[in-house]
Amino acid sequence: MLSLYLERFKRNRLAAAGLAIIVLLTLGAALAPALCPQDPTAQNLTQRLQGPSAQHWMGTDDLGRDVFSRLLTGTRVSLSVGFVAVGIALGVGTCLGLLAGFFGGRTDTFIMRWVDIMLSIPTLFLILAVLAFLGPNIYNVMIIIGLTSWPGLTRMVRGECLSVREREYVHAARLSGVSTPRLLFVHILPNVIAPILVSATLGVGGAILTESALSFLGLGVQPPMPSWGNILTIGKDYLHIAWWLSVFPACAILITVLAFNLLGEGLRDVLDPRT
């Protein structure tokens, strides 16, 4: 089975490219302190707004800091926000989805109406309001993005669970006296995991985008700590004078989100038994 998936994955070039980019980025983020050619927070006012050169590969910002070093350090922020937020969403979303789908009745109604309520609130505005209240910092950003991105997942897991719970092997397990938690996590969960994986992968890209948007608005990662979003904010003010301040972080966001989307789409194709 696994080898079949691997075989299919290898044939999907785009997904493989996505995965390669993600592996590279993760390595870059992990080794950022060692890889940075310069201290990402060291200012040098005599070197402000310098274009890309051998010394500064992606130029310098308005305080003379090295943009490449800042981007690389920002990768850590973006990836960790992406993974942690999606981790939270996965935990909450999967559990609620399984409960709703398995028990049905009032539990189902209650959880699904809650999902409807969450889906009817514009997420970005909810996040902005909560952050304005709690104060902007990277941990709050991770938690809040996680706690606002589970409803879609819940709905999907519930749907899958509804169909899986009627399968014969589930009836068999139940008749043989398997406990409910075991039934849920050992017999049902592995059979709904494929769509969860796909949705999680796509979710990481979404979370990175949200974090960038928040930092761009000044409510995410606080300076002098770099993040892709807050480098872009600076770039906006110098669009005419220093294109490199906008182009490089924008490309970083674009490539990363694209990589996660490609991987997600690829996983969907690979894991779908109908293909």
Binding site: T41, Q43, L45, L49, D62, L63, G64, G218
Partner: protein, 545 residues
């Protein structure tokens, strides 16, 4: 042109019309300037100005923000105004007499002035304006300018006599305050009067339309006592982002805007349609401490901070040399500025020595601590002023070098002033002052001015400075006053309630089709009603009615 006699904080809304970007120095520099001597003025066309912030109230008695001031300056007139060389000349008062002891001012009003609704302007209106300035129910920030006035009386419809209780040197200039119409304001609540959003004045332009947070439109006053202005419309667009303003400028969407040093130095092709002006401003930027905070009570600590901040780098790196470092509480181009005071040099070693002397020791990680508490504080500044935000970050880094843990908090302008500065709810700030032409800075430094909302929010108190400030405002004659203000400068520079950072140059772009923009000691825009556009270069088909 309104006489800019008031002192005000300048924040995100400081970059506005060139009319109020008044400055005073014969050193005024011109980057590019086309003479407007040639050709006869022609009517028509539109002048589009841009502002970061919206006006708050179009009533000169009530508002002190620079956006409101820009509009009020076109719609209202004072009794006197500064001419291009910063000499007081008559505006609504054709002339005036001063008694020998300086206590009595008699204004002779012009007889041909009408309000925008056609009613004549008389001494009753002056009296009414004064009463509102002194009325405790009226929310005016300018009451203290008139505290020493004993009485104001209308001798006849065109003569006003003002008697002062004590000599008050800035007294005459304070009558540059815009005059408001009695017949409009006599009924209803003054603070919330509908005319505060649809003003009636005597100025060269009259009010036409105000769309909140979008634009304000003025049209020429055909009855203006000096004759109607040439431009057929004055449009004041509210664009809350400096980089968007810059984009608009390139597309000829706005005719005039303030520039950041980086924008000013951008490549020439960007300024295809606009000319750039540079001149010394009447502003300065400082790093101020809350002196009630135990951290900053010790003068050795404040001196150490002064040694630890490299002002020269700030000016060269952030202002790109378009400004000067300063040592005391006056803009460089003021005659009150004492150039004898030496600049505190950048020396982290001296800073550390002073801090050790005051009992601070670096811990294992190099962080300064004393009795177990680390040297840690937050610098606050306002949003929207790019250079100031960067300055805060540079200061943060420089103080980090000597072992201080500094955080930065950037807050939107009005909540910054009302929630934090006025309530003394801050540790340190990076802020600026736009000062009047008169050096009297009693409001900022006198120990009596520490109540909530008053300007001595750092809680500075020195009996010697108090005495000098009182003497300064009661003494007439520039030479005599200069000696007093130089002493004040020296004393404040020694006490360091602020670390004085720099005096930035005013940087302005104005569309090239306008004839008339000229930098004088007062700055730019002093002759705005005379600006015009030759017919063949007019961009908008609007004609004066």
């Amino acid at each position: 042109m309104k006489t800019d006699t008031e002192t005000r904080r300048h924040g995100d809304t400081e970059i506005t019309s060139p009319r109020l970007r008044v400055s005073a120095s014969l050193l005024a520099l011109l980057i590019s300037f086309k003479s407007f001597a040639a050709g006869t003025p022609e009517y028509g066309d539109v002048y589009v100005d841009a502002s970061i912030g919206d006006a708050s109230m179009l009533n000169p008695v009530l508002s002190s923000d620079s956006a409101s001031n820009d509009i009020n300056g076109q719609v209202f007139n004072g009794l006197v105004k500064y001419d291009k060389n910063i000499k007081l000349v008559g505006e609504l008062a054709g002339s005036w007499d001063v008694s020998a002891n300086g206590l009595v001012l008699t204004f002779h009003l012009r007889k041909n002035v009408r309000w925008h609704d056609g009613k004549p302007f008389t001494a009753e209106d002056v009296l009414f304006t004064y009463q509102k300035l002194r009325d405790p129910q009226v929310h005016t920030p300018f009451g203290s300018d008139f505290e020493l006035v004993k009485s104001v009386a209308a001798i006849d419809p065109w003569t006003v006599r003002v008697v002062y209780a004590k000599p008050f040197a800035p007294g005459l200039a304070s009558w540059g305050m815009g005059m408001i119409p009695k017949h409009i304001f006599k009924d209803g609540d003054f603070n919330t009067h509908p005319a505060n959003r649809a003003p009636i004045g005597t100025g060269p332009y009259r009010f036409k339309e105000w769309k909140t947070a979008q634009y304000i439109v003025l049209e020429p006053n055909p009855d203006y006592y000096e004759g109607p202005p040439y431009l057929a419309r004055y449009i004041y667009r509210i664009i809350p982002d400096q980089s968007v303003q810059f984009l608009e400028m390139r597309n000829q969407g706005i005719d005039s805007l303030g520039l950041s040093p980086d924008q000013f130095k951008a490549y020439d092709a960007i300024f295809e349609h606009h000319q750039r002006f540079r001149y010394p401003s009447f502003q300065y930027v400082y790093f101020g401490f809350n002196l009630r905070n135990p951290l900053f009570k010790d003068i050795r600590v404040r001196r150490a901070l002064a040694f630890a901040i490299d002002r020269q780098t700030l000016v060269q790196g952030l202002l790109l040399g378009l400004g000067q470092p300063i040592t005391g509480p006056y803009p460089l181009s003021s005659w009150a500025y004492n150039s004898q005071i030496p600049q505190i040099p950048y020396s982290p070693q001296k800073a550390l020595a002073l801090l050790m002397d005051a009992g601070w020791r670096p811990d294992a990680e190099g962080l300064l601590t004393k009795d177990g508490t680390p040297f840690s504080f937050t610098i606050m500044t306002n949003q929207g002023n790019k250079v100031r935000e960067l300055a805060a970050q540079v200061i943060q880094q420089q103080l980090h070098h000597i072992g201080m843990d500094v955080k930065i908090r950037i807050v939107e302008w009005s909540s910054f002033i009302h929630q934090f500065v006025d309530k003394k709810n801050f540790e340190a700030v990076v802020l600026g002052w736009s000062t009047g032409r008169d050096p009297d800075n009693y409001l900022m430094w006198h120990s009596s001015q520490q109540k909530e909302g008053q300007y001595n929010f750092v809680s500075y108190s020195n009996p010697e400075v108090d005495r000098l400030l009182e003497r300064g405002r009661q003494t007439f004659g520039e030479k005599k006053r200069q000696a007093i203000y130089w002493k004040i400068h020296a004393q404040i520079a020694a006490d360091l309630p602020y670390i004085f950072l720099y005096c930035p140059d005013s940087l302005v772009a104005v569309h090239k089709r306008f004839r008339g923009p000229e930098v004088a000691p007062l700055g730019m825009g002093w002759n705005f009603p005379q600006w015009y556009v030759p017919r063949d270069q007019q961009l908008y088909p609007v004609r004066t009615p």
